[in-house]
């Protein structure tokens, strides 16, 4: 049961295609994140949903309401869309008190005074702002300001909440705390969230589904678990979590690491679908590599060049030919020391074409 629908949405700025033929649907009450490096078009997409940017092509729907469609010459301005929105730079108004900031959308809707007060106070309570309500938001911390922005967006009880990197201006520990506050508010109010971020852990923690985007093109839309465990391509693999890539040559179906003299795992074979490629890339996550014996036929031989103790984990750098692998192990597993030769085996490796 889809609620927000983007159909063939495309945005061009001159010759530059910022968003290319985007399609997705978001369910009611779903938390949907758009994730990608800066400049990938995620914020532009959100602004098209909000109505701050026109679409070049395509349609945006909410429920059975068409919001934007250049083909049908239809455009609902942002103020008529009934969304809640929170911006990265807070955008709380310094000349109004916290209370008036939150009451603003209700006053615009010309509700009666009693209802305005009741809904404003509800939103302030939900965001723990009651004690600060009469002061200027200028005196609040970053987290406080962002709560005001959240309360203001909540006050109209929107069906859809648009969050544009709402936590990027906050301190790291506050960021984690606010993440869960947003999630709690969603549970309580039941709105859908479209969440834009470049922080993968934020997207993972909050979202029901994540859209990974690169240069205006969708790479994958899936649950956080599937995105992590079954990345659709090399970009998604590298963008989510830590990653290692070993470049190898395809020598008649056998993958060979250049300038590497030691043993390669017995299963180091280029998969069928990449048979036509001469250069392939072997991908693994540092936490999904185990040390093994030198005799293990599945072992890749190399030399440890660095070992760093990071608290919970120990971070190893291992030289393979003239490339390096990163291996992370729990601190209780005693591993090899720098200078030692060693062998590792891969729990869940992926193969990609080198120039994908």
């Amino acid at each position: 049961m889809s609620y927000v629908r983007l159909v063939n949405v495309t945005k061009r700025f001159g010759d530059v295609i910022a968003v290319n033929n985007l399609n997705y649907e978001i369910g009611k009450g779903e938390c949907f994140s758009m994730l990608g490096p800066s400049g990938c078009g995620k914020t532009t997409t959100l602004r098209m949903v909000a109505g701050f940017e026109d679409l070049t092509e395509g349609e945006v729907w909410v429920g059975d309401r068409l919001l934007s469609s250049p083909a049908k010459n239809h455009y609902t301005p942002p103020e008529k869309r009934n969304f809640g929105m929170v911006f990265q730079a807070f955008a709380v108004w310094p000349h109004l008190s916290v209370y008036e900031n939150v009451a603003f959308p209700l006053r615009i809707r010309k509700l009666d005074e009693k209802e305005i007060d009741q809904r404003t106070m509800d939103a302030l309570r939900a965001t723990n702002l009651v004690s600060a309500k009469d002061g200027s938001p200028d005196y609040l911390s970053g987290g406080g300001k962002q709560r005001v922005a959240l309360a203001r967006a909540l006050a109209i009880n929107p069906d859809v909440m648009l969050l544009d990197e709402p936590l990027s201006s906050l301190d790291p520990h506050l960021r984690e705390e606010m993440r869960f506050e947003i999630k709690d508010l969603q549970m309580k109010y039941g709105f859908s969230i479209i969440y834009v971020t470049h922080d993968q852990s934020e997207a993972m923690a909050l979202s029901d589904r994540i859209l990974v985007m690169k240069l205006g093109v969708v790479q994958q839309i899936d649950t956080p678990l599937n995105i992590y465990n079954h990345p659709a391509n090399k970009f998604v693999f590298s963008f989510i979590g830590l990653s290692n890539f070993l470049s190898a040559k395809n020598e008649g179906g056998r993958a060979v690491v250049p300038n590497h003299s030691g043993q390669l795992p017995a299963s180091f074979v280029v998969p069928e679908n990449l048979a036509g490629e001469t250069d392939v890339s072997f991908a693994s996550r540092p936490s999904e590599i185990d040390f093994t014996t030198m005799e293990d036929p599945e072992g890749l031989h190399g030399v440890i060049t660095r070992k760093a103790f990071l608290g919970e984990i120990v971070d190893y750098q291992m030289q393979v030919g003239d490339q390096f692998l990163r291996v992370q192990k729990g601190r209780r597993d005693p591993g090899p020391e720098p200078g030692e030769s060693c062998a590792v085996k891969f729990l869940r490796p992926f193969w990609y074409a080198e120039n994908e």
């Binding site: 914020t43 701050f52 301005p77 942002p78 929105m85 603003f104 959308p105 967006a153 201006s169």
Partner: protein, 563 residues
């Protein structure tokens, strides 16, 4: 965090502080003190009653009233015009916005008294070209507009002063975080509501601060009123001070009258500055945004082309027309001839540049005075700013207070103050020499230098000096190798901020000039007063050319220096 805190540099710090205080005291504080002293002490006695009596004389009361009327009208007019154009070029889809914006800033560099001269030529009741044109061709029996009036004077001031508001409001609107308005929009507010409830309240401090600047400037402004008011008996405070001192060749009575009026100016200026700081302090919100999405643009739709034509008409009428008139009149053989090709030539320009010693000297005086004042003020300013911004030494508070003074002392007050201080009463008599003008210029422009240099110094974080000290450099080496190169753009800006305005300075020079020490501003003004309209216009035209060339060089240089 203090940059200077070791024992060895303690003595040096005190020395710099002392030197800075001494400069400000001698150049600014002492002359101002003398004015206050002379206003209230006659002989050996405190005489407050006398000051009140002077203010009650019809002429002084009239001048006070006129200053207030003209300043109020100019301020209101400039604020409306400035805010409107600022909104138009930042928040609408007006065509040719960038061009319009640069044109609206042009009046900043044009001397307003030259503009006033042009408007006198265009709209004086009987001889003004526009008035004549309507009387001759359309059967008007009288002038269509008399520029010799409160309204006329105020309108001319608006043309030259509105950029103060324009630039402040443009800056605020451009830097304002667009999401402040977007979040109102997503809350359901339409553009009109957003403008009324969000945008205007947020830029109000900038509007008011610009308006107060105009008020301050206009109250103490000499040129426009001197050119347009005297004919009809409209004097304001600076004009009355000048007239009285000039006519009586510096008699005791006139000086006393001057000091009382100057005191009024100083007090009102101090009040205005205080008010401005209060407004900025209480309401200067952090509205600068992180992301740079374009702010919403109001679609003017059907008004787009009419608005563009209106802007072009405004620019043509207030900037191009007066400039053209100055150049045309400056090329006439005799004033009164028609602008037909046979009556126009370059002879006047040749005459004033190569033959007429008054104008030749005036140009030389202005350039050398401007250059010297700019150099001295630039270096003094960087030193004083350094103490104020960077050093933690005892007694800095005095310096901070003294540093505020130049901002609040109008030009005619400075001129009067240096007359009192440097005409022999205290052992040094440089009255009637070029040096007294130099001293007055330094006092007048110290504020510009302090502003530019402190802005530059605030950008230099203390840790940069600390890093240099940690690398083994001494305090002096750090200053020379780290701080100085980083504030050089600020110093350069200060130099030009002083050099260019001093080329066209009138308010101070007119009170201090002697026959051989006319500046170009004085020469233009006095030649015009003596009826040498054509020569005066030609000199004004040359001054305009120099100023425009200078401004172009500045823009190039400062852009390169990244100021």
């Amino acid at each position: 965090m203090s940059a200077v805190k070791t024992k060895s540099s303690f003595g040096v710090a005190q020395l710099i502080l002392f030197l800075s205080i001494a400069i400000l005291v001698v150049i600014v504080a002492f002359p101002v003190m003398l004015i206050l002293f002379n206003a209230f002490w006659v002989g050996d006695q405190f005489n407050f009653q006398g000051a009140i009596e002077i203010l009650q004389q019809p002429a002084t009361y009239e001048a006070l009233r006129n200053s207030l009327i003209i300043a109020t009208m100019s301020t209101i007019g400039s604020t409306i015009v400035g805010t409107f154009f600022a909104w138009l070029v930042t928040r609408t889809d007006l065509p040719h916005k960038t061009f319009m914006k640069s044109m609206f800033l042009v009046p900043f560099m044009l001397p307003s008294f030259i503009g006033a001269m042009a408007w006198k030529m265009l709209l004086s009741p009987n001889a003004g070209f526009i008035n004549r044109f309507f009387m001759d061709n359309f059967g008007f029996t009288g002038p269509i507009f008399n520029i010799y009036s409160y309204l006329g004077i105020s309108l001319v001031e608006v043309m030259y002063l509105f950029p103060f508001v324009f630039i402040q409001v443009c800056g605020a609107l451009e830097r304002m975080d667009p999401t402040l308005e977007e979040s109102a929009r997503i809350s359901g507010a339409g553009l009109f509501t957003i403008t009324r409830k969000i945008t205007i309240p947020l830029v109000l401090p900038s509007i008011l601060s610009g308006a107060l600047l105009i008020m301050l400037y206009s109250m103490a402004h000499f040129g426009t009123v001197a050119v347009l008011g005297i004919e009809n008996g409209i004097y304001n405070i600076p004009v009355l001070i000048y007239e009285r001192i000039h006519q009586s060749a510096g008699s005791f009575e006139s000086i006393r009258l001057g000091t009382v009026l100057a005191t009024v100016l100083v007090v009102s200026a101090a009040f205005i500055i205080w008010l401005q700081r209060k407004i900025l302090g209480s309401g200067h919100y952090q509205i600068i945004g992180g992301k740079s999405f374009r702010p919403m643009e109001l679609k003017l739709r059907g008004l787009r082309i009419p608005m563009m034509l209106f802007c072009f008409a405004y620019i043509g009428f207030t900037i191009v027309l007066p400039t053209v008139v100055i150049f045309l009149v400056g090329s006439l053989k005799t004033y009164g001839l028609s602008f037909s090709p046979e009556n126009l030539s370059l002879d006047n320009f040749k005459f004033i540049l190569f033959e007429f010693d008054v104008t030749r000297d005036a140009i030389f005086n202005s350039v050398s005075l401007g250059f010297t004042a700019a150099i001295i003020t630039m270096f003094a300013g960087v030193m004083i700013s350094y103490v104020i911004v960077k050093m933690k030494v005892r007694g800095k508070g005095i310096l901070e207070f003294l540093g505020m003074l130049p901002f609040s002392v109008p030009g005619s007050v400075i001129a009067l103050g240096v007359i009192l201080a440097w005409s022999g009463q205290f052992g040094i008599n440089i009255y009637n020499t070029v040096w007294i003008i130099l001293v007055a210029y330094i006092a007048r422009y110290m504020a510009f230098s302090l502003k530019a240099n402190s802005a530059a110094l605030e950008q230099v974080h203390d840790s940069l000096v600390e890093a240099s000290r940690a690398c083994g450099a001494t305090m002096w080496q750090s200053l020379r190798d780290i701080v100085l190169p980083l504030v050089r753009p600020g110093m350069l800006a200060a130099f030009f901020l002083i050099f260019l305005p001093s080329l066209r300075e009138l308010t101070v020079s007119i009170m201090l000039y002697a026959p051989t020490t006319r500046t170009s501003g004085v020469a233009i003004y006095t030649l015009n007063e003596d009826g040498e309209t054509v020569i005066s216009a030609a000199l004004a035209a040359i001054a305009l050319i120099i100023i425009v060339i200078g401004q172009t060089i500045i823009n190039k240089v400062t852009k390169k220096a990244g100021v």
